[in-house]
Protein backbone atom coordinates (compact mmCIF):
# COMPACT_ATOMS: atom_id res chain seq x y z
CA UNK A 1 0.00 0.00 0.00
CA UNK A 2 2.88 2.37 0.87
CA UNK A 3 4.54 1.56 -2.43
CA UNK A 4 1.27 2.28 -4.18
CA UNK A 5 0.97 5.74 -2.62
CA UNK A 6 4.59 6.55 -3.38
CA UNK A 7 4.08 5.55 -6.98
CA UNK A 8 0.98 7.75 -7.12
CA UNK A 9 3.06 10.72 -6.01
CA UNK A 10 5.83 9.77 -8.49
CA UNK A 11 3.27 9.46 -11.25
CA UNK A 12 1.82 12.90 -10.59
CA UNK A 13 5.27 14.54 -10.34
CA UNK A 14 6.50 12.93 -13.58
CA UNK A 15 3.16 13.67 -15.18
CA UNK A 16 3.48 17.39 -14.54
CA UNK A 17 6.98 17.52 -16.06
CA UNK A 18 5.72 15.51 -19.02
CA UNK A 19 2.79 17.89 -19.30
CA UNK A 20 5.22 20.78 -19.62
CA UNK A 21 6.94 19.06 -22.57
CA UNK A 22 3.69 17.89 -24.12
CA UNK A 23 1.87 21.21 -23.86
CA UNK A 24 4.62 22.86 -25.90
CA UNK A 25 4.31 20.11 -28.48
CA UNK A 26 0.53 20.31 -28.64
CA UNK A 27 0.64 24.12 -28.84
CA UNK A 28 2.96 23.91 -31.84
CA UNK A 29 0.83 21.25 -33.49
CA UNK A 30 -2.47 22.97 -32.81
CA UNK A 31 -1.38 26.27 -34.26
CA UNK A 32 1.11 25.44 -36.96
CA UNK A 33 0.13 21.88 -37.94
CA UNK A 34 3.77 21.06 -37.35
CA UNK A 35 4.55 17.71 -35.76
CA UNK A 36 7.77 18.72 -34.10
CA UNK A 37 10.15 15.77 -34.12
CA UNK A 38 12.89 18.06 -32.80
CA UNK A 39 11.03 18.73 -29.56
CA UNK A 40 13.07 16.21 -27.59
CA UNK A 41 16.25 17.85 -28.84
CA UNK A 42 15.04 21.27 -27.69
CA UNK A 43 14.41 19.67 -24.28
CA UNK A 44 17.96 18.32 -24.31
CA UNK A 45 19.55 21.57 -25.50
CA UNK A 46 17.58 23.39 -22.81
CA UNK A 47 19.17 21.16 -20.19
CA UNK A 48 22.65 21.87 -21.63
CA UNK A 49 21.91 25.59 -21.70
CA UNK A 50 20.92 25.23 -18.05
CA UNK A 51 24.28 23.60 -17.26
CA UNK A 52 26.15 26.43 -18.95
CA UNK A 53 24.12 29.23 -17.40
CA UNK A 54 24.40 27.59 -13.99
CA UNK A 55 28.18 27.61 -14.34
CA UNK A 56 28.07 31.29 -15.35
CA UNK A 57 25.57 32.65 -12.85
CA UNK A 58 25.74 30.13 -10.03
CA UNK A 59 22.00 30.37 -9.42
CA UNK A 60 19.70 27.55 -10.58
CA UNK A 61 16.59 29.69 -10.99
CA UNK A 62 18.41 32.35 -13.01
CA UNK A 63 19.89 29.55 -15.14
CA UNK A 64 16.42 28.12 -15.66
CA UNK A 65 15.11 31.43 -16.95
CA UNK A 66 18.20 32.14 -19.05
CA UNK A 67 18.11 28.66 -20.62
CA UNK A 68 14.45 29.09 -21.55
CA UNK A 69 15.20 32.45 -23.19
CA UNK A 70 18.27 31.08 -25.00
CA UNK A 71 16.31 28.19 -26.49
CA UNK A 72 13.42 30.50 -27.37
CA UNK A 73 15.77 32.68 -29.44
CA UNK A 74 17.46 29.67 -31.03
CA UNK A 75 14.17 28.04 -31.93
CA UNK A 76 12.73 31.26 -33.33
CA UNK A 77 15.72 31.38 -35.67
CA UNK A 78 15.22 27.70 -36.56
CA UNK A 79 11.56 28.28 -37.30
CA UNK A 80 12.29 31.20 -39.61
CA UNK A 81 15.06 29.38 -41.48
CA UNK A 82 13.74 25.84 -41.73
CA UNK A 83 10.02 25.70 -41.02
CA UNK A 84 8.64 28.88 -42.53
CA UNK A 85 9.43 27.71 -46.09
CA UNK A 86 7.43 24.53 -45.40
CA UNK A 87 4.26 26.37 -44.45
CA UNK A 88 1.26 25.12 -46.39
CA UNK A 89 2.99 21.99 -47.64
CA UNK A 90 1.94 18.44 -46.79
CA UNK A 91 2.47 17.79 -43.03
CA UNK A 92 4.84 15.00 -44.06
CA UNK A 93 7.45 17.60 -45.03
CA UNK A 94 7.35 19.32 -41.66
CA UNK A 95 7.84 15.90 -40.02
CA UNK A 96 10.82 15.27 -42.28
CA UNK A 97 12.18 18.78 -41.80
CA UNK A 98 12.01 18.66 -38.02
CA UNK A 99 13.43 15.12 -38.09
CA UNK A 100 16.42 16.46 -40.03
CA UNK A 101 16.82 19.28 -37.51
CA UNK A 102 16.69 16.81 -34.63
CA UNK A 103 19.50 14.74 -36.20
CA UNK A 104 21.65 17.86 -36.51
CA UNK A 105 20.93 19.15 -33.00
CA UNK A 106 21.45 15.80 -31.30
CA UNK A 107 24.78 15.16 -32.99
CA UNK A 108 25.85 18.74 -32.49
CA UNK A 109 25.29 18.28 -28.75
CA UNK A 110 27.31 15.06 -28.83
CA UNK A 111 30.10 16.84 -30.69
CA UNK A 112 30.08 19.92 -28.49
CA UNK A 113 29.54 18.38 -25.05
CA UNK A 114 30.82 14.82 -25.45
CA UNK A 115 29.20 11.57 -24.39
CA UNK A 116 29.82 11.94 -20.63
CA UNK A 117 26.66 13.05 -18.76
CA UNK A 118 26.86 16.56 -17.30
CA UNK A 119 25.72 17.10 -13.77
CA UNK A 120 23.11 19.75 -13.09
CA UNK A 121 23.08 20.39 -9.34
CA UNK A 122 19.67 20.68 -7.78
CA UNK A 123 18.91 23.94 -5.97
CA UNK A 124 17.21 22.23 -3.00
CA UNK A 125 18.70 19.25 -1.25
CA UNK A 126 16.18 18.78 1.58
CA UNK A 127 14.18 15.60 2.14
CA UNK A 128 11.06 14.70 4.00
CA UNK A 129 10.01 11.33 5.34
CA UNK A 130 7.45 9.47 3.23
CA UNK A 131 6.74 5.97 4.61
CA UNK A 132 10.03 4.12 4.13
CA UNK A 133 11.55 6.71 1.73
CA UNK A 134 13.36 10.02 2.03
CA UNK A 135 11.45 12.00 -0.58
CA UNK A 136 13.33 15.04 -1.95
CA UNK A 137 11.57 18.41 -1.74
CA UNK A 138 13.01 19.28 -5.12
CA UNK A 139 10.66 16.88 -6.90
CA UNK A 140 7.64 18.54 -5.32
CA UNK A 141 8.93 22.03 -6.18
CA UNK A 142 9.65 20.86 -9.72
CA UNK A 143 6.10 19.59 -10.14
CA UNK A 144 4.57 22.76 -8.71
CA UNK A 145 6.73 24.94 -10.92
CA UNK A 146 5.70 22.97 -14.01
CA UNK A 147 2.09 23.40 -13.03
CA UNK A 148 2.67 27.13 -12.55
CA UNK A 149 4.27 27.52 -15.99
CA UNK A 150 1.41 25.65 -17.64
CA UNK A 151 -1.08 27.76 -15.70
CA UNK A 152 0.65 30.93 -16.85
CA UNK A 153 0.50 29.73 -20.46
CA UNK A 154 -3.19 28.99 -20.09
CA UNK A 155 -3.91 32.43 -18.62
CA UNK A 156 -1.86 34.06 -21.37
CA UNK A 157 -3.79 32.23 -24.09
CA UNK A 158 -7.09 33.00 -22.43
CA UNK A 159 -6.72 36.66 -21.47
CA UNK A 160 -3.61 38.15 -23.07
CA UNK A 161 -3.98 40.17 -26.26
CA UNK A 162 -1.32 38.10 -28.02
CA UNK A 163 -2.85 34.95 -26.57
CA UNK A 164 -6.06 35.84 -28.32
CA UNK A 165 -4.10 36.36 -31.55
CA UNK A 166 -2.68 32.87 -31.14
CA UNK A 167 -6.08 31.32 -30.56
CA UNK A 168 -7.51 33.18 -33.53
CA UNK A 169 -4.72 31.82 -35.72
CA UNK A 170 -5.50 28.30 -34.52
CA UNK A 171 -9.15 28.64 -35.45
CA UNK A 172 -8.71 30.09 -38.91
CA UNK A 173 -5.35 31.09 -40.30
CA UNK A 174 -6.68 32.93 -43.34
CA UNK A 175 -9.36 34.82 -41.44
CA UNK A 176 -6.85 35.80 -38.75
CA UNK A 177 -4.53 37.18 -41.42
CA UNK A 178 -7.45 39.10 -42.92
CA UNK A 179 -8.13 40.70 -39.54
CA UNK A 180 -4.60 42.06 -39.48
CA UNK A 181 -2.90 39.48 -37.26
CA UNK A 182 0.71 38.94 -38.43
CA UNK A 183 0.35 35.17 -38.84
CA UNK A 184 4.00 34.36 -39.71
CA UNK A 185 5.18 36.17 -36.57
CA UNK A 186 2.54 34.39 -34.49
CA UNK A 187 3.91 31.08 -35.80
CA UNK A 188 7.47 31.99 -34.90
CA UNK A 189 6.48 33.17 -31.43
CA UNK A 190 4.40 30.05 -30.77
CA UNK A 191 7.29 27.84 -31.81
CA UNK A 192 9.58 29.80 -29.50
CA UNK A 193 7.12 29.50 -26.59
CA UNK A 194 6.72 25.76 -27.13
CA UNK A 195 10.48 25.33 -27.37
CA UNK A 196 11.19 27.37 -24.24
CA UNK A 197 8.70 25.24 -22.31
CA UNK A 198 10.59 22.15 -23.47
CA UNK A 199 13.84 23.82 -22.43
CA UNK A 200 12.44 24.70 -19.01
CA UNK A 201 11.37 21.13 -18.42
CA UNK A 202 14.81 19.99 -19.57
CA UNK A 203 16.48 22.17 -16.94
CA UNK A 204 14.01 21.12 -14.23
CA UNK A 205 14.41 17.44 -15.04
CA UNK A 206 18.18 17.61 -15.57
CA UNK A 207 19.19 17.16 -11.89
CA UNK A 208 17.27 13.87 -11.71
CA UNK A 209 19.03 12.01 -14.53
CA UNK A 210 22.15 13.88 -15.68
CA UNK A 211 22.30 15.74 -18.96
CA UNK A 212 23.21 13.73 -22.08
CA UNK A 213 22.73 14.22 -25.80
CA UNK A 214 20.24 11.33 -25.96
CA UNK A 215 17.99 12.40 -23.08
CA UNK A 216 15.40 13.89 -25.45
CA UNK A 217 14.57 10.72 -27.36
CA UNK A 218 12.57 9.04 -24.57
CA UNK A 219 10.68 12.21 -23.85
CA UNK A 220 9.66 13.06 -27.34
CA UNK A 221 8.16 9.62 -27.82
CA UNK A 222 6.26 9.81 -24.55
CA UNK A 223 5.15 13.36 -25.33
CA UNK A 224 3.80 12.15 -28.68
CA UNK A 225 1.83 9.44 -26.94
CA UNK A 226 0.43 12.01 -24.52
CA UNK A 227 -0.44 14.50 -27.22
CA UNK A 228 -2.37 11.89 -29.20
CA UNK A 229 -4.09 10.42 -26.13
CA UNK A 230 -5.08 13.90 -25.00
CA UNK A 231 -6.30 14.93 -28.42
CA UNK A 232 -4.02 16.70 -30.88
CA UNK A 233 -3.82 20.41 -30.20
CA UNK A 234 -5.88 20.20 -27.02
CA UNK A 235 -3.98 21.76 -24.10
CA UNK A 236 -6.16 20.59 -21.20
CA UNK A 237 -6.37 17.12 -22.71
CA UNK A 238 -2.59 16.86 -22.96
CA UNK A 239 -2.15 17.80 -19.31
CA UNK A 240 -4.68 15.24 -18.11
CA UNK A 241 -3.21 12.63 -20.44
CA UNK A 242 0.33 13.30 -19.15
CA UNK A 243 -0.74 12.60 -15.59
CA UNK A 244 -2.85 9.62 -16.66
CA UNK A 245 -0.01 8.03 -18.65
CA UNK A 246 2.60 8.73 -15.96
CA UNK A 247 0.37 7.18 -13.31
CA UNK A 248 -0.17 4.11 -15.48
CA UNK A 249 3.56 3.79 -15.97
CA UNK A 250 4.30 4.30 -12.29
CA UNK A 251 1.83 1.59 -11.26
CA UNK A 252 3.09 -0.74 -13.98
CA UNK A 253 6.65 -0.42 -12.73
CA UNK A 254 5.47 -1.93 -9.41
CA UNK A 255 4.91 -5.18 -11.31
CA UNK A 256 7.37 -5.21 -14.21
CA UNK A 257 10.75 -3.54 -14.76
CA UNK A 258 10.67 0.21 -15.58
CA UNK A 259 11.99 -0.53 -19.09
CA UNK A 260 8.94 -2.67 -19.77
CA UNK A 261 6.54 -0.25 -18.08
CA UNK A 262 6.83 2.00 -21.15
CA UNK A 263 4.78 -0.57 -23.04
CA UNK A 264 1.78 0.24 -20.83
CA UNK A 265 1.83 3.82 -22.13
CA UNK A 266 2.02 2.52 -25.69
CA UNK A 267 -0.88 0.16 -25.16
CA UNK A 268 -2.90 3.01 -23.66
CA UNK A 269 -2.22 4.95 -26.84
CA UNK A 270 -3.31 2.14 -29.13
CA UNK A 271 -6.50 1.51 -27.15
CA UNK A 272 -7.25 5.25 -27.25
CA UNK A 273 -6.71 5.41 -30.99
CA UNK A 274 -9.05 2.48 -31.53
CA UNK A 275 -11.80 3.60 -29.16
CA UNK A 276 -11.63 7.39 -29.31
CA UNK A 277 -9.25 8.50 -32.06
CA UNK A 278 -9.99 12.18 -31.34
CA UNK A 279 -8.49 11.87 -27.86
CA UNK A 280 -9.46 10.50 -24.49
CA UNK A 281 -10.08 13.80 -22.73
CA UNK A 282 -12.05 15.56 -25.42
CA UNK A 283 -15.80 15.98 -25.06
CA UNK A 284 -17.67 13.82 -27.55
CA UNK A 285 -18.57 15.95 -30.57
CA UNK A 286 -22.35 16.39 -30.73
Amino acid sequence: MDAFLIQTLNGVVNGLILALVASGLTLIFGIMDVVNFAHGELFMLGAYAGVIWLAVTGNFWVALLAAAVTIAVLSAALQVVALRPLLGRDPLYTILGTFGISLVLQNYALWQFGPVPRKLTEPLTGHFRLFYLEYPYYRIVMALLSAAIIGALWAFLKYGKYGIWIRATTQDRVMAAAMGIPVPIVHTVVFAIGASMAAASGVLFGPLVGVTHAMGADWVLKAFVVVVVGGMGNLAGSILASIFISLLEAYASLIVSPAQAVIVAFIALIVTLLVRPTGLFVPTPK
Binding site: I95, G100, L103, V104, V228, I263, L269, I270
Partner: protein, 319 residues
Protein backbone atom coordinates in the same frame (compact mmCIF):
# COMPACT_ATOMS: atom_id res chain seq x y z
CA UNK B 1 0.64 3.43 -79.26
CA UNK B 2 4.06 3.41 -80.93
CA UNK B 3 5.27 6.43 -78.97
CA UNK B 4 4.64 4.68 -75.66
CA UNK B 5 6.48 1.60 -76.88
CA UNK B 6 9.68 3.49 -77.72
CA UNK B 7 9.53 5.24 -74.32
CA UNK B 8 9.27 1.91 -72.59
CA UNK B 9 12.21 0.59 -74.58
CA UNK B 10 14.33 3.36 -73.07
CA UNK B 11 13.18 2.28 -69.62
CA UNK B 12 14.12 -1.37 -70.18
CA UNK B 13 17.48 -0.43 -71.70
CA UNK B 14 18.20 1.62 -68.59
CA UNK B 15 17.07 -1.28 -66.43
CA UNK B 16 19.37 -3.71 -68.27
CA UNK B 17 22.34 -1.34 -68.02
CA UNK B 18 21.90 -0.85 -64.26
CA UNK B 19 21.45 -4.58 -63.74
CA UNK B 20 24.57 -5.35 -65.78
CA UNK B 21 26.56 -2.77 -63.79
CA UNK B 22 25.38 -4.28 -60.52
CA UNK B 23 26.30 -7.73 -61.80
CA UNK B 24 29.83 -6.70 -62.76
CA UNK B 25 30.35 -4.46 -59.71
CA UNK B 26 31.71 -7.11 -57.27
CA UNK B 27 34.23 -8.32 -59.86
CA UNK B 28 35.87 -4.93 -60.30
CA UNK B 29 35.35 -3.17 -56.97
CA UNK B 30 37.75 -3.56 -54.04
CA UNK B 31 36.58 -5.52 -50.99
CA UNK B 32 35.25 -2.55 -49.01
CA UNK B 33 33.17 -1.08 -51.82
CA UNK B 34 31.87 -4.52 -52.81
CA UNK B 35 30.39 -4.97 -49.37
CA UNK B 36 29.16 -1.39 -49.45
CA UNK B 37 27.27 -1.98 -52.72
CA UNK B 38 25.62 -5.09 -51.29
CA UNK B 39 24.58 -3.11 -48.24
CA UNK B 40 23.11 -0.31 -50.36
CA UNK B 41 20.97 -2.87 -52.17
CA UNK B 42 19.66 -4.34 -48.91
CA UNK B 43 18.77 -0.93 -47.44
CA UNK B 44 17.37 -0.03 -50.84
CA UNK B 45 15.06 -3.04 -50.71
CA UNK B 46 13.86 -1.93 -47.27
CA UNK B 47 13.26 1.61 -48.52
CA UNK B 48 11.52 0.30 -51.64
CA UNK B 49 9.18 -1.80 -49.51
CA UNK B 50 8.08 1.27 -47.58
CA UNK B 51 7.60 3.21 -50.82
CA UNK B 52 4.50 1.05 -51.42
CA UNK B 53 3.00 2.78 -48.39
CA UNK B 54 4.57 6.24 -48.53
CA UNK B 55 4.68 6.87 -52.24
CA UNK B 56 1.81 4.81 -53.60
CA UNK B 57 -0.80 4.67 -50.83
CA UNK B 58 0.07 7.95 -49.13
CA UNK B 59 0.56 6.39 -45.68
CA UNK B 60 3.79 7.40 -43.97
CA UNK B 61 5.04 4.44 -41.97
CA UNK B 62 7.47 5.23 -39.16
CA UNK B 63 7.51 1.57 -38.12
CA UNK B 64 9.43 -0.25 -40.80
CA UNK B 65 12.22 -1.10 -38.38
CA UNK B 66 9.80 -3.57 -36.72
CA UNK B 67 9.30 -5.55 -39.94
CA UNK B 68 12.99 -5.36 -40.83
CA UNK B 69 14.04 -6.41 -37.33
CA UNK B 70 11.54 -9.26 -37.15
CA UNK B 71 12.88 -10.50 -40.48
CA UNK B 72 16.35 -10.50 -38.92
CA UNK B 73 15.26 -12.27 -35.75
CA UNK B 74 13.15 -14.74 -37.73
CA UNK B 75 16.19 -15.65 -39.81
CA UNK B 76 18.23 -15.87 -36.62
CA UNK B 77 15.70 -18.30 -35.12
CA UNK B 78 15.95 -20.59 -38.16
CA UNK B 79 19.72 -20.42 -38.32
CA UNK B 80 20.20 -21.10 -34.60
CA UNK B 81 17.70 -23.91 -34.10
CA UNK B 82 17.99 -25.97 -37.28
CA UNK B 83 21.19 -27.91 -38.09
CA UNK B 84 22.76 -27.49 -40.59
CA UNK B 85 21.75 -23.84 -41.12
CA UNK B 86 19.50 -23.59 -44.12
CA UNK B 87 19.19 -20.40 -46.15
CA UNK B 88 15.70 -21.10 -47.48
CA UNK B 89 14.39 -21.95 -44.04
CA UNK B 90 15.86 -18.68 -42.72
CA UNK B 91 14.07 -16.88 -45.52
CA UNK B 92 10.79 -18.63 -44.73
CA UNK B 93 11.03 -17.97 -40.96
CA UNK B 94 11.97 -14.33 -41.51
CA UNK B 95 9.15 -13.71 -43.95
CA UNK B 96 6.58 -15.43 -41.72
CA UNK B 97 7.74 -13.45 -38.67
CA UNK B 98 7.56 -10.17 -40.58
CA UNK B 99 4.18 -11.08 -42.08
CA UNK B 100 2.66 -11.95 -38.69
CA UNK B 101 3.88 -8.70 -37.17
CA UNK B 102 2.74 -6.76 -40.23
CA UNK B 103 -0.72 -8.31 -40.02
CA UNK B 104 -0.93 -7.35 -36.34
CA UNK B 105 0.27 -3.79 -36.92
CA UNK B 106 -1.87 -3.38 -40.04
CA UNK B 107 -5.04 -4.47 -38.26
CA UNK B 108 -4.77 -1.63 -35.75
CA UNK B 109 -2.92 1.10 -37.59
CA UNK B 110 -4.91 1.16 -40.83
CA UNK B 111 -7.94 2.49 -38.98
CA UNK B 112 -6.08 5.77 -38.67
CA UNK B 113 -4.89 8.29 -41.17
CA UNK B 114 -2.04 10.71 -41.77
CA UNK B 115 -0.02 11.66 -38.72
CA UNK B 116 -1.99 9.28 -36.49
CA UNK B 117 -0.98 6.39 -38.73
CA UNK B 118 2.65 7.51 -38.58
CA UNK B 119 2.63 7.75 -34.78
CA UNK B 120 0.84 4.39 -34.36
CA UNK B 121 3.37 2.58 -36.51
CA UNK B 122 6.17 4.33 -34.64
CA UNK B 123 4.73 3.23 -31.31
CA UNK B 124 4.23 -0.35 -32.49
CA UNK B 125 7.83 -0.59 -33.60
CA UNK B 126 8.92 0.72 -30.18
CA UNK B 127 6.77 -1.93 -28.48
CA UNK B 128 8.60 -4.64 -30.42
CA UNK B 129 11.89 -2.92 -29.62
CA UNK B 130 11.18 -2.97 -25.88
CA UNK B 131 10.06 -6.61 -26.02
CA UNK B 132 13.18 -7.68 -27.92
CA UNK B 133 15.44 -5.53 -25.76
CA UNK B 134 14.14 -6.84 -22.43
CA UNK B 135 13.38 -10.50 -23.28
CA UNK B 136 17.02 -11.45 -22.83
CA UNK B 137 16.62 -15.24 -22.54
CA UNK B 138 15.24 -15.57 -26.06
CA UNK B 139 16.55 -12.59 -28.00
CA UNK B 140 19.89 -12.07 -26.29
CA UNK B 141 18.74 -8.60 -25.17
CA UNK B 142 21.13 -5.78 -25.90
CA UNK B 143 23.82 -8.09 -27.27
CA UNK B 144 21.55 -9.63 -29.88
CA UNK B 145 22.20 -12.98 -31.50
CA UNK B 146 25.10 -14.16 -33.59
CA UNK B 147 25.04 -17.18 -35.89
CA UNK B 148 26.87 -18.82 -38.76
CA UNK B 149 26.22 -17.86 -42.34
CA UNK B 150 24.16 -20.48 -44.16
CA UNK B 151 25.39 -21.91 -47.46
CA UNK B 152 23.72 -21.21 -50.78
CA UNK B 153 22.26 -24.36 -52.20
CA UNK B 154 19.51 -26.94 -52.37
CA UNK B 155 19.49 -29.43 -49.47
CA UNK B 156 20.63 -32.86 -50.64
CA UNK B 157 21.82 -31.60 -54.01
CA UNK B 158 24.59 -29.08 -53.54
CA UNK B 159 25.74 -26.35 -51.18
CA UNK B 160 28.39 -23.72 -51.75
CA UNK B 161 29.40 -21.34 -48.97
CA UNK B 162 28.79 -17.67 -49.71
CA UNK B 163 31.73 -15.59 -50.88
CA UNK B 164 31.31 -11.80 -50.98
CA UNK B 165 30.80 -12.07 -54.76
CA UNK B 166 28.13 -14.78 -54.72
CA UNK B 167 26.41 -13.06 -51.81
CA UNK B 168 26.29 -9.87 -53.83
CA UNK B 169 24.81 -11.71 -56.82
CA UNK B 170 22.29 -13.39 -54.56
CA UNK B 171 21.23 -10.00 -53.15
CA UNK B 172 21.09 -8.50 -56.65
CA UNK B 173 18.84 -11.37 -57.76
CA UNK B 174 16.47 -11.02 -54.78
CA UNK B 175 16.29 -7.23 -55.04
CA UNK B 176 15.67 -7.38 -58.80
CA UNK B 177 12.90 -9.96 -58.42
CA UNK B 178 11.35 -7.90 -55.61
CA UNK B 179 11.55 -4.76 -57.71
CA UNK B 180 9.86 -6.40 -60.70
CA UNK B 181 7.18 -7.89 -58.45
CA UNK B 182 6.52 -4.56 -56.71
CA UNK B 183 6.48 -2.75 -60.04
CA UNK B 184 3.97 -5.25 -61.40
CA UNK B 185 1.87 -4.85 -58.24
CA UNK B 186 1.81 -1.05 -58.47
CA UNK B 187 0.64 -1.30 -62.09
CA UNK B 188 -2.02 -3.91 -61.33
CA UNK B 189 -5.66 -2.98 -60.60
CA UNK B 190 -4.79 -3.44 -56.91
CA UNK B 191 -1.97 -0.91 -57.24
CA UNK B 192 -4.30 1.50 -59.01
CA UNK B 193 -6.71 1.33 -56.07
CA UNK B 194 -3.82 2.11 -53.70
CA UNK B 195 -2.91 5.16 -55.76
CA UNK B 196 -6.51 6.30 -55.82
CA UNK B 197 -6.55 6.02 -52.01
CA UNK B 198 -3.54 8.33 -52.00
CA UNK B 199 -5.20 10.82 -54.31
CA UNK B 200 -8.66 10.84 -52.76
CA UNK B 201 -9.65 8.43 -50.06
CA UNK B 202 -13.32 9.40 -49.54
CA UNK B 203 -13.95 9.17 -53.27
CA UNK B 204 -12.31 5.75 -53.49
CA UNK B 205 -14.57 4.61 -50.69
CA UNK B 206 -17.59 6.15 -52.36
CA UNK B 207 -16.90 4.23 -55.57
CA UNK B 208 -17.24 1.08 -53.49
CA UNK B 209 -13.74 -0.13 -52.68
CA UNK B 210 -13.19 -1.53 -49.21
CA UNK B 211 -10.43 0.98 -48.46
CA UNK B 212 -9.49 -0.53 -45.08
CA UNK B 213 -8.96 -3.97 -46.57
CA UNK B 214 -6.74 -2.55 -49.32
CA UNK B 215 -4.73 -0.68 -46.72
CA UNK B 216 -4.25 -3.79 -44.59
CA UNK B 217 -2.99 -5.73 -47.60
CA UNK B 218 -0.70 -2.83 -48.54
CA UNK B 219 0.86 -2.72 -45.05
CA UNK B 220 1.33 -6.50 -45.03
CA UNK B 221 2.87 -6.50 -48.49
CA UNK B 222 5.21 -3.73 -47.48
CA UNK B 223 6.04 -5.52 -44.22
CA UNK B 224 6.88 -8.79 -45.97
CA UNK B 225 9.34 -7.11 -48.33
CA UNK B 226 10.85 -5.22 -45.40
CA UNK B 227 11.24 -8.59 -43.65
CA UNK B 228 12.97 -9.93 -46.75
CA UNK B 229 15.48 -7.09 -46.48
CA UNK B 230 15.95 -8.01 -42.81
CA UNK B 231 16.72 -11.63 -43.71
CA UNK B 232 19.28 -10.54 -46.30
CA UNK B 233 20.93 -8.21 -43.79
CA UNK B 234 21.05 -10.99 -41.19
CA UNK B 235 22.62 -13.39 -43.71
CA UNK B 236 25.18 -10.79 -44.77
CA UNK B 237 26.21 -9.73 -41.27
CA UNK B 238 25.62 -12.96 -39.32
CA UNK B 239 23.92 -11.23 -36.40
CA UNK B 240 20.60 -9.82 -35.25
CA UNK B 241 20.58 -6.85 -32.86
CA UNK B 242 17.85 -4.78 -31.18
CA UNK B 243 19.38 -1.60 -32.66
CA UNK B 244 17.80 -2.56 -35.96
CA UNK B 245 14.32 -2.53 -34.42
CA UNK B 246 14.84 0.94 -32.94
CA UNK B 247 12.83 3.73 -34.55
CA UNK B 248 15.91 5.51 -35.90
CA UNK B 249 16.04 2.83 -38.62
CA UNK B 250 12.43 3.68 -39.53
CA UNK B 251 13.45 7.32 -39.69
CA UNK B 252 16.32 6.46 -42.02
CA UNK B 253 13.91 4.54 -44.25
CA UNK B 254 11.72 7.62 -44.58
CA UNK B 255 14.87 9.67 -45.28
CA UNK B 256 15.85 7.26 -48.09
CA UNK B 257 12.40 7.65 -49.62
CA UNK B 258 12.45 11.40 -49.38
CA UNK B 259 16.02 11.76 -50.73
CA UNK B 260 15.48 9.44 -53.67
CA UNK B 261 11.94 10.36 -54.62
CA UNK B 262 8.74 8.83 -53.30
CA UNK B 263 6.48 6.84 -55.57
CA UNK B 264 9.18 5.67 -57.96
CA UNK B 265 10.39 2.37 -56.36
CA UNK B 266 13.92 2.90 -57.72
CA UNK B 267 14.09 6.32 -56.08
CA UNK B 268 14.34 4.92 -52.54
CA UNK B 269 17.23 2.68 -53.63
CA UNK B 270 18.97 5.73 -55.08
CA UNK B 271 18.15 7.58 -51.86
CA UNK B 272 19.71 4.80 -49.78
CA UNK B 273 22.81 4.91 -51.98
CA UNK B 274 23.00 8.70 -51.70
CA UNK B 275 22.58 8.64 -47.91
CA UNK B 276 25.13 5.86 -47.38
CA UNK B 277 27.66 7.52 -49.67
CA UNK B 278 27.20 10.82 -47.83
CA UNK B 279 27.62 9.01 -44.53
CA UNK B 280 30.75 7.25 -45.76
CA UNK B 281 32.26 10.47 -47.10
CA UNK B 282 31.56 12.60 -44.06
CA UNK B 283 32.45 9.97 -41.50
CA UNK B 284 36.02 10.06 -42.85
CA UNK B 285 36.41 13.64 -41.62
CA UNK B 286 33.80 13.87 -38.89
CA UNK B 287 33.91 10.31 -37.48
CA UNK B 288 30.68 9.71 -35.58
CA UNK B 289 29.38 13.23 -36.09
CA UNK B 290 28.68 12.65 -39.78
CA UNK B 291 24.95 13.13 -39.05
CA UNK B 292 25.50 16.88 -38.64
CA UNK B 293 26.31 17.59 -42.33
CA UNK B 294 24.01 14.78 -43.50
CA UNK B 295 21.16 16.24 -41.45
CA UNK B 296 21.81 19.70 -42.88
CA UNK B 297 21.80 18.37 -46.45
CA UNK B 298 18.65 16.39 -45.73
CA UNK B 299 16.83 19.40 -44.24
CA UNK B 300 17.88 21.56 -47.20
CA UNK B 301 16.57 18.93 -49.61
CA UNK B 302 13.24 18.79 -47.76
CA UNK B 303 12.94 22.55 -48.27
CA UNK B 304 14.27 22.91 -51.79
CA UNK B 305 14.02 19.51 -53.53
CA UNK B 306 10.98 17.87 -51.91
CA UNK B 307 10.41 15.55 -54.87
CA UNK B 308 13.80 13.90 -54.35
CA UNK B 309 16.67 12.99 -56.66
CA UNK B 310 14.63 10.86 -59.06
CA UNK B 311 11.36 12.77 -58.62
CA UNK B 312 11.75 14.33 -62.07
CA UNK B 313 11.62 10.84 -63.64
CA UNK B 314 8.53 9.73 -61.74
CA UNK B 315 6.33 9.39 -64.82
CA UNK B 316 8.93 7.54 -66.87
CA UNK B 317 9.66 5.10 -64.06
CA UNK B 318 6.00 4.20 -63.52
CA UNK B 319 5.14 3.70 -67.16
Amino acid sequence: MPAARTDNRGYWIGFAVVLALLFVAPLVLPEFWRRFTTEILIWGLLAMSSDILIGYTGMVSFGHSAFFGLGMYGAAAALLTVRPPNLWLALAYGLVAAAVVAAFVAYFSTRLRDIYFAITTLVFSQIFYVIIFTWTEVTGGENGLTFRQPALGVPGLFAIPFTPVTLHWFVVAIVTISYLLLRRITQSPFGMVLQSIRENEPRTRAIGYAVERYKIVAVMLSGVFAGLAGVLYAVQNKFAAPDFVFFLISGEVVIFNMLGGMGTLVGPIAGAAFFLILRETFSRFWTEFYLIPVGVIFTLMVIFVPQGLLGFARRALNR
